[in-house]
Amino acid sequence: MYSQYKAGKSLIHRIPACVKIIGMIIFILTGLTVQKPVFAVIFFCLSIVIAIAAGIHPKKLFLKTRYILALLLTGFVFNALSRGWITALPVFLRLYAIVILAQVFIFTTAPEELMECAENKFHVNKEYLISIMIAAGFLPLLQDSFHEIRTAQEARGADWMHGSLKSKIKGMIPLLVPIFRFTLQKAETLGEALTIKGYSSQK
């Protein structure tokens, strides 16, 4: 979630998170309920326009959604074979448009902004939100330390690619032990950092 967000100054970026959420819900509901095939095409084009307005290159959008696109295309083919492509195409376009919109939303909304909106406008429990935010922040940290430790062991001649399966598994120990240690330690220091900053859950 954190790694997906791209800071920017586009029109879409500047819309407040709450407005974006509500807008997206309305957009999706209309898209799904209005049955006219022409509308599906308009809906799809509109989602592309929004993506471009948010500063996302169509190619990048395609790359980001390629797996889900493959899934949708399979569905489309089956649908087209059984019910004809005139029925299948609008369904496909609608679904893909929703995927694009969700992608745009993730791309343009900072998690912090989203949390703030959830707290202030939708009155979600603050405790949950802090837990979610910390968890979300933890993953990239883990990823970084993984990268760092891997680099350090590679510098010491570690080889993850070659050798038998057994030696490969054994070769992972120098990577896994520090990662586990880091994770446990980090969880502890995180708790301490919260305490130091004066946070208490009893409040």
């Binding site: 979300a136 922040g137 940290l141 062991q153 510098a155 120098p174 004066g198």
Partner: protein, 468 residues
Amino acid sequence: MIKEPLFRLESIKLRHLPESAIDLSCARGEVIGLCGGNGTGKTTLLRYVAGLDPDGNGKFRETTRAIQIGLVFQHAKDNLVFSGLRKDVEFGFKNLHQTLSDEIYHKLLSFFELQEEETKIYRWMSAGTAERAALLSIWSQKPDLLLLDEAFSHQDPLTACAIFSRMIREVKSQNRSIIITTHEPEILELTDTVYRLDQGRITPAVPELAETGNERHPVLNLLSNGCFIKQDVQIISGRNDMVLTGFVPKGSNESKIQPEVLRLEYVSFSYPEKDVFVRQSCSIKKGTLYYLSGCSGSGKSTLMLLMAGLMRHKSGMIQIADITLPASGSKISGGTIKEIRKKIGFMGQHAERQLFADTVWEDTAYAPKNLGIDASGLNDCCENALRMVGLQENLWRRSPFTLSSGEKRKAALAGIISAEPEILLLDDPYAEIDAEGIVFINQMIRNYVANGRTVLISGTGRLNVQSI
């Protein structure tokens, strides 16, 4: 004037140090410097005062309970709770039932020289920048007692002193106190009282005599004994300019031009969003000691990772002895990679995280084993390496996880030099190492270079070359 006391500790026994009996008192408005070797319990003491660790009797602090305490952890990034600095500061304010205004936030940013890093998330910050960010997030809460654990270890001395003096001025005017643990004499000099923690006792110390015996940067200590002669200076432009200065040992036939062991030619590299290097070149020669200096965030770590082939450059050419390292995108064979690893050793900023084995000895043997040094040579390699970094023999069979942070760094360094690489890249090796450790590391570097190998050290301290 009798100062109002803030707290007083009487014969406190520290956890892990059964022999200790700590007496320490701190007055309001007092700034205390705490020095002492690695593993003497400085961090444990600070944690006890902050109420995070129980003492040796399993009791948590009593005396300091009523005081609002802020602790800045040794590893800057441990201080973060959220991913962005602003959110972190806001969180601290919220816990104190205050709101953070833009004006206050910008004042804080300029106080810690972080104006340009405002929007950056912690992840992308360099070690020095993250350290200042961590300071800011705790400082903003205005605790009565601020505990700083090696909080300036990745700053250049000028910046560190500037920021610390500013902090002292403000703290004094508001009658708050600071306790700082550090190895840097420049920092200790700014404090009111200096104590040394040694073998579980606190004794007063004089800042001049406190650590290395002089206020010079460790690299200067290394170079200034008259055993090195300046050879060449190269400028590399990363996000800021870096200076790469080469030194050869005296008496090694200085006038002879040494063969080149590593060359960067028009190398470019960028992270997503930002260019770091654009068509930069430099040349590294055999038997030479290099010092790479530049302010924090200029791209020193990145340059070293590129040199070691641990990160691939976007364009240009990197030549390591007779191996050409192609730019990213083209494949290199496993054999070539192994050759490069044999030639280049790299120690990163958190080298202690690489420790994994059951004993220090086994960990040290990891690299030579990987790089195909046979069993007969292995023992010698390990022993040499461990002696070179100055790790006592009684620690060799211990688990690396039971060592103190300074000892861990030494063990990590041993695990790199045990493979005897021809080029040794050390990214900020002096951070968090005590005076004794610095002497050992410097001795090791001297020996290493004298054997005709190459060492490249990075650091934030600027060299005043005239003084060498």
